[in-house]
């Protein structure tokens, strides 16, 4: 599990052994494979990119090609212990609705995203006067999958509006965990563990 992306490593650590997990935007199944191999997790995935799905299936994972914006409605309430959305929220058309589905389908949910209020991004925006292009968000404004940038404070405010409870939160700068204090300014990534109130 040492090769997992840092936000995935946190999620992998927190998921209970033997749980049923839906990984929304699972990519080529890296997290699912780690959960299966180290925690005996029954993992299912949803991924838009056909090539990634093929790779995940060829790893022996159960992955469906589909779109978080349109296909989550098909999953019954509480059908998974955890629903996971890692680095995908900012690419959805309606992050608010996707979030509702996550906490409906999973008894608990993990959401991770790049924090658009981190000081480097603020800096680039303020002094460069242009849409920030950073290591974490390397795309140009006109050709980016990230159509809904979000900050940690924006996300918390959405959770409040949607009556979603925070059960855990972790913040990262690069690969290193960092304290909650000033997370919105200092953290590059956030991981939240959520539950519907």
């Amino acid at each position: 599990m040492s090769t997992l992306r840092p936000d995935l490593a946190i999620i992998a650590r927190e998921v209970r052994a033997g749980a049923r997990v839906l990984d929304v935007g699972c990519g080529d199944g890296q997290l699912m494979a780690a959960l299966r191999d180290t925690k005996n997790v029954d993992a299912r995935g949803l991924e838009l990119n056909a090539h990634d799905v093929a790779t995940a299936v060829s790893r022996g994972l159960s992955v469906i090609q589909g779109d978080a914006d349109t296909d989550l409605a098909e999953y019954p309430d509480g059908s998974f212990d955890y629903a996971i959305l890692s680095q995908t929220l900012q690419t959805t058309k309606r992050p608010d609705l996707v979030l509702d589905h996550l906490v409906r389908i999973g008894r608990e949910a993990f959401v991770s995203f790049p924090n658009f209020a981190q000081w480097r991004i603020r800096f680039a925006h303020m002094f460069g006067g242009r849409m920030p292009v950073t290591k974490q968000l390397p795309h140009l404004w006109y050709d980016t999958p990230n159509i809904h940038h979000v900050t940690i404070d924006d996300f918390r405010s959405l959770l409040h509006d949607r009556h979603i409870e925070i059960e855990g939160q972790w913040f990262l700068s690069g690969n290193k965990p960092r304290a909650d204090r000033f997370a919105n300014l200092l953290a590059q990534h956030a991981v939240f563990k959520l539950r519907r109130k």
Binding site: A50, V53, A54, S58, G60, S62, E74, Y75
Partner: protein
């Protein structure tokens, strides 16, 4: 060790049956023509059943005895392929109702000594599967590592999982559907009417006489269009003329696409029985896996432990991706382990029979993971 004659190429067996048909009738005895490739392992856990499409047959990976052509799915089945006789015991069965050795309308009814013709019972896809299960009993195979099929073969794979969930560990369903749509039925009806409008059809009693080849050829031509895509046809033929510089202002096959379709029709009648075409298209039209479950497809797979892998092709308008997704949603609702990918191909429904490296990669990985 004495060779087990139940296994090998070009096998045929008469089983006492009976097969209890969806119509309520019983059918016996049941002739089943099949082939096997590769050896069954000691714990009989490596059997893979390949199910063929409407006009397919048991010659999945061996030379067709009538056409002399290679097996119809040598891209998927063979040495170093996802389904490999070095690792799997592969079973390929001619479906009931067909005309390559299994019981069908052209078979001799032992009670009359004449061909069944239209006296053959109307069968369904599940009936075909029940007959296949009889053969597996005969072969001593209780559990299948996988059932694999494209098109009508996929319908059989789904039916296998629904009828005998404890006998199927994995199911691979490619370019298929859990029900025939109004459009599917409509195209089949055109084909059937073409056959029945041929005066030589004679209410099906043409055996020993000239077969209704014109009708069957037209049926095949209409069906063949549904196996291709508009883009594929345009790329292959466009509006190009066939062996001529100008339009003939007549009704010869001026266009290449006409000539191609005529050829497809004519070559088909040499290897297929018109009544079989009626019976099998009927079975496909009757297919709706949700129907016996109050229209709720998920109930057909309640508590299933079978793993599923579905693949569709974006240019397939016969069984479009939406139909595969419907199955996937039902399997999800049933809590089944299911994988699904829509692959890109310009070749329409027929894509599953053609070179598709991504399809092979998926099927290979899926089967290997299930074999563990």
């Amino acid at each position: 060790m004495q060779e087990d004659t139940r296994f090998g190429l070009d096998r045929k067996i008469r089983l006492l049956g009976p097969v209890r048909l969806d119509s309520g009738a019983e059918f016996a005895p049941v002739d089943i023509a099949y082939e096997t490739y590769g050896a069954l392992n000691a714990d009989k856990s490596n059997a893979i059943l390949i199910c063929h499409a409407l006009t397919g047959d048991q010659y999945v990976a061996s030379t067709h005895p009538m056409t002399g052509k290679d097996g119809w799915w040598t891209r998927m089945v063979g040495a170093a392929k996802p389904i490999d006789p070095a690792r799997h015991c592969i079973i390929s069965i001619n479906v009931m109702g067909s005309c390559m050795g299994s019981s069908g309308p052209a078979s001799i009814d032992p009670t009359t000594g004449a061909a069944y013709a239209m006296g053959f019972p109307v069968i369904t896809i599940p009936d075909m599967v029940r007959a296949q299960a009889l053969l597996l009993d005969h072969l001593g195979i209780e559990t299948l590592e996988a059932v694999v099929g494209g098109s009508m073969g996929g319908m059989q794979a789904l039916s296998w999982a629904a009828l005998y969930p404890e006998r199927v560990k994995s199911a691979v369903v490619i370019a298929s559907t859990a029900r025939h749509s109004a459009q599917n039925i409509a195209f089949h009806e055109v084909g059937r009417q073409a056959i029945m409008a041929d005066p030589r059809w004679n209410n099906g009693a043409y055996y020993g006489h000239e077969a209704p080849s014109s009708g069957l050829a037209v049926a095949r031509m209409a069906a063949h269009i549904t196996y291709l895509s508009e883009a594929g046809l345009t790329e292959k033929f466009g509006r190009r003329l066939q062996n001529r510089d100008a339009k003939s202002f007549g009704f010869d096959a001026d266009f290449q696409v006409e000539s191609y379709l005529r050829y497809q029709g004519l070559s088909f009648v040499d290897r297929f029985d018109a009544n079989s075409y009626l019976y099998i298209t009927r079975a496909m039209d009757y297919f709706d896996l949700a129907e016996p479950h109050d229209g709720v497809l998920a109930k057909a797979f309640a508590r299933t432990k079978t793993r599923f892998c579905l693949i569709s092709f974006d240019s397939d308008w016969l069984y479009p991706t939406a139909e595969s997704r419907r199955i996937v949603h039902a399997l999800n609702a049933a809590g089944a382990a299911v994988s699904f990918v829509e692959l890109s191909s310009p070749f329409g429904h027929d894509a599953f029979l053609l070179e598709a490296p991504e399809m092979n990669r998926i099927v290979d990985g899926f089967l290997r993971a299930g074999g563990k």
